[in-house]
């Protein structure tokens, strides 16, 4: 069983968590072009690397950030969002 560490609830089985993908900066919809907006909506960085991702501990609805190596599937650290990513 894989384990993920929630910053509030500690180490829990990964099946208790929901994955919401890599954190991506949103362009300003009022000023960006249609192409930029479409790129934001659809395009993803599918190559492996250490990525900052949104995860949620579903049992307690805690949203937090995990830094994870997506090739080795190793979580380097998890922390709560505090206004800066």
């Amino acid at each position: 069983m894989k384990i993920l560490t929630c910053p509030i609830n500690g180490s829990r089985p990964v099946s208790e968590f929901y994955y919401w993908g890599e954190i991506r900066p949103m362009p300003n919809p009022d000023t960006c072009s249609d192409d930029e907006w479409a790129a934001y909506v659809f395009n993803r960085n599918g190559a492996p690397g250490v990525k900052k991702e949104w995860w949620c501990h579903t049992a307690s609805n805690i949203w937090f950030i995990a830094e994870r190596d997506t090739e080795k599937d190793v979580v380097l650290r998890t922390y709560l969002f505090e206004g800066e990513i």
């Binding site: 069983m1 994955y19 993908g21 909506v41 395009n43 599918g46 492996p48 991702e53 997506t70 090739e71």
Partner: protein, 412 residues
Amino acid sequence: MPWRLLRFGVAKKHPEPRMFTYHEKLKPSYDVVIIGGGGHGLSSAYYLGKDHGITNVAVLEKGYIGGGNTGRNTTIIRSNYLTPEGVKFYDESVNLWQDLSQDFDLNLFYANRGHFTLAHTDSAMRTMRWRAEVNKHYGVDSEVVGPDFVKREAPMIDLSCGHAPILGALYHAPGSVARHDTVAWGYGRGADMRGAEIHQQTEVLGIDVQSGKVKGVLTSRGYISTNKVICAVAGYTPRILNMVDIKTPIYIHPLQAMVSEPIKAWLNPILVSGSLHIYISQSSRGELVMGASLDPYEVQSTRSTLDFVEGLSSHMLDMFPFLSNVKVMRQWAGMADMTPDFAPIMGKTPVEGFYLDSGWGTWGFKATPVCGKTMSYTVANDTNHPLITGFSLDRFRNYSLTGEKGAASVGH
């Protein structure tokens, strides 16, 4: 016979030819370079030679032939998709499959079994009726059937499925299975006989693009110049696309599968259940070949997990309780290159001479022949084949997606 084997072993000249010619060196240039020696890449090489007379072709494979998703899928072939683009495309593929063993002079163990997509809810039944109507409109043999018909074709099934009784199914009589590694070998041998070179253990390290045009490929065994490159690398697609600076919606999740020990033949059709997240068929060797839905988060490796075996086995027992004493023999994972609309991304790209055959997620094996046909046409004529215009990369920028989610796979 041991003596014959011994003589064969010590013979200087082997009397039986190998499947592929071994090439000591890469040539300095090729007309077309294909990255990826899986089914899709090799069938592209095959049809480039067979249909278009282009034989100065290199297929570059980082590992070994068919060692990627070609050898990791659950070998199901069908065409009962949801969108007109999908149905026409996969139907052409099913037609090509029928004659492939003859074409190759190699037994693919192509077995027509019939394919059921089981519905456990009213909304699933509605999707089945929708698919059946789209399929029939395009001449594909597909119909909605009741639980009695399912029970007749698969007598061992428990129709109550624990907590999710089967209300009906979409039945697709042409649904088949084939031995997947032989497909890669057959296409590889056919391409090889027509003059294409297959280079295994050859990794692509970079792609030389000058003023928007492909000029060459840098490999672990040296540089080769070429004006045309086909990228058919499934889960490695984003890494190759970074070399040519093309952005796509492709994201990688593992898809896992497993087989049981071989048992007496008892299951003829292929069964899929979206609600229970399973699909199952029995191979010609008697193993049960089983798969489930995608892993829930991004990973670019092929390790499999215990969670998967536990989850899949539990759902399998809901449907076939009598399997409780059957052992699981092997499990594995493949990297699925997923797209937001569950349709592939194929054809020309913003980089001239760079052709993409990607986004094959969990639905690529059945398309192997038609991908080779259409990609070879696209490369030879530098125009997208009419069957793949609905799968171009532009569709995301234009918000005109090809919504195949309801039919591409299970449990999404």
